[in-house]
């Protein structure tokens, strides 16, 4: 089945095999893990940016805080390091990204994390005073205005409490 999965990723399966393989994926957590790893490795090899932590960190910091961080740009990892870095980032996962985004005050978090992972010393952090809405505020607004629909009033605010506290 594992060969089937890599064949599926490479688009080398016949139509009927695709259906069967997807069914198998649905049934087995082990196979799904296989699929995810494969996807991660593939993405890392292609150098996709979503998995590239320093990019993610940079963007989240841009969303998070207007206070401009003046730090040396993290050195780009050498090409051979990328897959490992990407996997490390995904293992650390969402929590890292969210922590970066929602770190209290927001000023120190980003360069430290991005710097450490990229193997660079932390640079000076100079923050300007201008502030803009932060991701936390966006999250609250998003949940507050999400249609109550099925989930009803209560459940939609659960995410606000849980996700906003991520990485603490």
């Amino acid at each position: 089945m594992k060969t089937r999965i890599s064949a599926l990723m490479d688009g080398e399966l016949e139509q009927h095999e695709v259906g069967e393989t997807l069914q198998a994926l649905r049934r087995s957590e082990e196979l799904r893990a296989e699929w995810r790893d494969g996807q991660l490795i593939g993405a890392a090899l292609r150098g996709e940016r979503k998995l590239d932590l320093d990019i993610t960190a940079r963007v989240m910091s841009a969303i998070d805080m207007e206070p401009t961080v003046l730090a040396p740009a993290p050195r780009r990892p050498a090409a051979w390091q990328r897959p490992a870095l990407a996997l490390a980032a995904s293992a650390a996962g969402v929590a890292v990204v969210a922590w970066l985004a929602l770190a209290p005050g927001g000023q120190e978090g980003v360069p430290v994390a991005a710097g450490n992972l990229a193997g660079v010393k932390q640079g000076p952090v100079v923050a300007q005073t201008q502030s803009t809405p932060r991701l936390q505020e966006y999250l609250v607004a998003h949940q507050a205005y999400a249609p109550s629909g099925v989930i009803g009033g209560a459940a939609r605010n659960i995410r606000t409490v849980a996700v906003a506290g991520e990485g603490r």
Binding site: R32, V94, T132, E137, H142, Y145, I151, A155, V161
Partner: protein
Amino acid sequence: MLVRIALLLLTALLLTPMLATEPAFAEDGLALLHRIAQGSRQLTYSGTFVYRSGARVDTSRIAHSLSDGLEVERIEALDGSPREVLRAGSEVKCFFPEEKLLIIESRSSQRGFPSLLPAGLGNLPEHYAIRSGREGRVAGLKSRAVLLEPRDEWRYGHEFWMDAASGLLLKASLLGVLGETLESFAFTQVKIGGSLEQGALKPGYDREGVRVQQVRTTELRTDDMGWTFRTMLPGFRKVAAMKRQAGASSPESMHVVFSDGLASISVFIEPGGSAGEKETTATLGPLNVYRRQIDEHRVVVMGEVPALAVRRLGEGIERRHK
């Protein structure tokens, strides 16, 4: 070969009754969804639930009641810092103890956002295959499940478990493309009906030294938005558009909400950011967040939808030229 054909025929025969009853299932499922929507709003309940997202697990306490037509609820995180959400009708207060920050969001007028009311479930079968019927047990209660599988790649799947007796939603999961659970919440203990404990809905935080961020919003008509959305996602329609301001010194920004009745996507457009920032997608728990710079404006699109969806919607945003 013959065996194959025989097998195929047999499969077809076995599948026929299932196919034939699918519409009935869908209708049944929809009825259950309506019950859940009603139950979640009208019931008085309190309990403890577990929230999971990725590797993260959180326990929280919830109390909810409806009195004189006003829905009041309080959610408090039991793990980590005691974050709190209090809601009374259309006003939502979120307290973040570590920042000593209280964010208050109040919808300018309920009347202005009719689509936020539990309606419009009727369109769901167009975008989700709805199945119901499975029975099980959640938090010690006999429950029934409703499964919604997306019909396209613009949304995630959902699984809901409701208390068979009251209709209260006991467990909900957000399902990814491969059926993997992206996020779930489930009651571990719940008390339905009766009256709440004294003080169950009272805020637990101390207002001393707390920074209050009262967000003011005003409704926006489509013509006044100044922006257009060129790439609309199938089934998602605009349910709210407003100007928002977090404080007197904060810049005014715009918030537009799109929904397919179940999933929602928020678009925030605010002045700021530096030109030349690259567009990017990131994740925040089960949410995907897309960010893009358009001239002197920062555009952030977030929602509990696949990354593909926030990106697609975000890429179609343009200034309107008058």
